[in-house]
């Protein structure tokens, strides 16, 4: 059986060749994270001020923070959508039985494929944002952005089990898309990506502490303030995320096994 590394490499190659054969798509992928920054700045200048935003979020370099937050918004919990998207894509194309017959267990394939997709998007966003961060805040801001990227990759690991659950549930439900697609924006909403979490209702503030992306956003804030440094951002976030990796994946492992059995019984797989 090919190793997990070989599977990951193959999935990354698929992503790479899509972009390599499609230059328009590559160029646009680089432009998108800046668009989100522009939208927020545009609205912000019209209705208030950047100083107000920096004070409420507790950041010293608002532009660098917006760049990091935009990268987080585009890529942080993408593993859920990517794993589901791959499963649905194979179902549409009729290639699902072939994937299922391949040597790796199906949930493993889903997770690796989802991870490769989200890693690829995150790398593209980082590559797009690095020159902007360098211009806006110098080498320190670029180092901060790379630290946020590292935390973001770490934060996708607690979501591995949830991603496989979402993909299998979507196949079982025979719906047209990811039945748990609301999770991606919900996790971002709870994380306070562009605003302080304190504006959310109390119940959502409490739930926010359980969301891995919240710690990526915290890392982005630490990296965008003079009081913290890139390494401090990584260290603080990694304690919380390590605990979440163990708890969330242990809990979802049973759900994944049960859903796979259910999918086989119903002839979905």
């Amino acid at each position: 059986m090919p190793s997990l590394r070989a599977l990951l490499r193959a999935e990354l190659a698929v992503q790479w060749w899509w972009l390599k054969n499609n230059r328009v798509m590559l160029l646009l992928s680089f432009a998108w994270p800046y668009m989100a920054v522009l939208v927020l700045l545009g609205m912000g200048y019209a209705y208030g001020s950047v100083e107000n935003m920096a004070e409420r979020l507790g950041v010293d370099e608002p532009l660098v923070y917006l760049m990091a937050a935009s990268m987080v918004a585009f890529a942080a919990s993408g593993i859920i959508d990517n794993a589901s998207g791959v499963a649905q894509w194979h179902r549409w194309l009729g290639t699902l039985p072939y994937v299922y017959a391949s040597p790796h267990r199906f949930p493993v394939y889903l997770v690796v494929s989802g991870f490769a997709g989200s890693l690829f998007i995150a790398v593209t966003d980082l590559a797009a944002m690095l020159p902007g961060a360098l211009l806006a805040g110098g080498p320190r801001a670029s180092a901060g952005l790379m630290a946020v990227f590292a935390v973001m990759i770490l934060a996708s690991l607690p979501l591995v089990g949830i991603a496989a659950t979402a993909a299998l549930l979507s196949l079982l439900a025979r719906e047209e898309g990811n039945v748990l697609s609301f999770l991606n924006p919900l996790l971002l909403l709870l994380s306070g990506v562009f605003y302080p979490v304190e504006v959310l209702p109390r119940l959502l503030q409490a739930l926010s502490a359980l969301v891995p992306v919240r710690y990526v956003v915290e890392a982005a804030r630490v990296a965008s303030s003079f009081s913290g440094g890139p390494m401090r951002a990584v260290v603080v976030a990694s304690y919380y995320l390590a605990a979440m990796i163990v708890v969330y994946n242990t809990l979802s492992a049973h759900a994944v096994a049960a859903l796979e059995r259910g999918a086989r019984r119903r002839g979905v797989l």
């Binding site: 972009l19 499609n22 719906e175 971002l188």
Partner: protein, 269 residues
């Protein structure tokens, strides 16, 4: 010929509605997803404003972002459907049957409107709670409905342009859709034209969505448009005619290319 087009339109609308009812959970899920994304940006924009200004700013931001939702949802429901349309082999089937590609794609605006209204309900409830003021109020419901309809028609025509460009370039329509983002900031959607810097006012007046958006703000919160309401209405109609011409040009180019070289797969994102 005209009767044939009408029969086709009825059949296609019926098929899309059947599909929508079959995937009703997916549609509801989509509305929630859109609503959550819009809420994230609304809360992000409100972070720039002081909490004392929320009673006046929050409704303006809500309607601005709702207009953006109406502009961008068809990009996914119509524009991005070109990918599905090609991958499933439906393009060739329509080509052989002599059925209209544009009509088939345009009828996707029916689920788009349902999604737009559903997401507006989600955003309205959430932002009203956070801002402490009811944001989804209207002073002139008839004018509000007319302005939102105009935005929907423009968005449908623009999405058709994207769908055909997507066929020709093989880049997914949502990636091609950077114009919506730019127009949102400089095109008098994110903020009233009167609040933009002088140079940007001229840019906004020369773009399509600013005119129905000014009418929308007049109808919703009573904010006087930059130009007289009658002129804004006339310019709205003129832009709809221009966008229809752009759709016809994109369709002619993409179909000529597809018939000469065959249809090719559109990138995944």
């Amino acid at each position: 010929m005209r009767g044939g087009q009408l029969r086709q339109a009825r059949a296609m609308a019926w098929l899309h509605l059947v599909r929508t009812s079959r995937y009703v959970y997916s549609m509801a899920n989509w509305a929630v997803v859109d609503g959550l994304w819009i809420t994230i940006y609304v809360l992000g924009a409100l972070t720039f404003a002081s909490p004392e200004s929320y009673p006046t700013v929050a409704p303006l931001v809500f309607w601005a972002v709702l207009a953006w939702g109406l502009m961008s949802t068809p990009t996914w429901t119509i524009g991005n459907w070109a990918r599905f349309y090609v991958a499933m082999g439906v393009f060739e089937e329509h080509e052989l049957a002599g059925a209209s590609h544009s009509l088939f794609l345009a009828m996707r605006s029916l689920p788009a409107v349902a999604i737009g209204l559903g997401s507006a309900a989600v955003v309205g409830a959430f932002v009203s709670h956070v801002a402490g003021v009811p944001v989804a109020r209207a002073e002139n419901p008839a004018l509000l409905a007319a302005s939102l309809l105009a935005i929907t028609v423009m968005a449908t025509l623009y999405s058709l342009v994207l769908a055909f460009l997507s066929l020709a370039t093989r880049a997914p329509a949502p990636l091609l859709d950077f114009v919506n983002f730019l127009l949102f900031i400089v095109g008098g959607i994110a903020a009233p034209v009167s609040r933009l810097p002088h140079q940007l006012r001229l840019v906004a007046l020369a773009t399509p969505y600013s005119h129905p958006a000014e009418l929308m703000r007049l109808a919703a919160v009573g904010l006087r448009p930059y130009l007289p309401a009658g002129v804004e209405a006339a310019l709205t109609l003129a832009w709809i005619a221009l966008m229809a011409a752009a759709w016809l040009a994109a369709r002619t180019w993409a179909l000529r290319l597809a018939r000469r070289e065959g249809v090719r797969g559109i990138g995944r994102m």
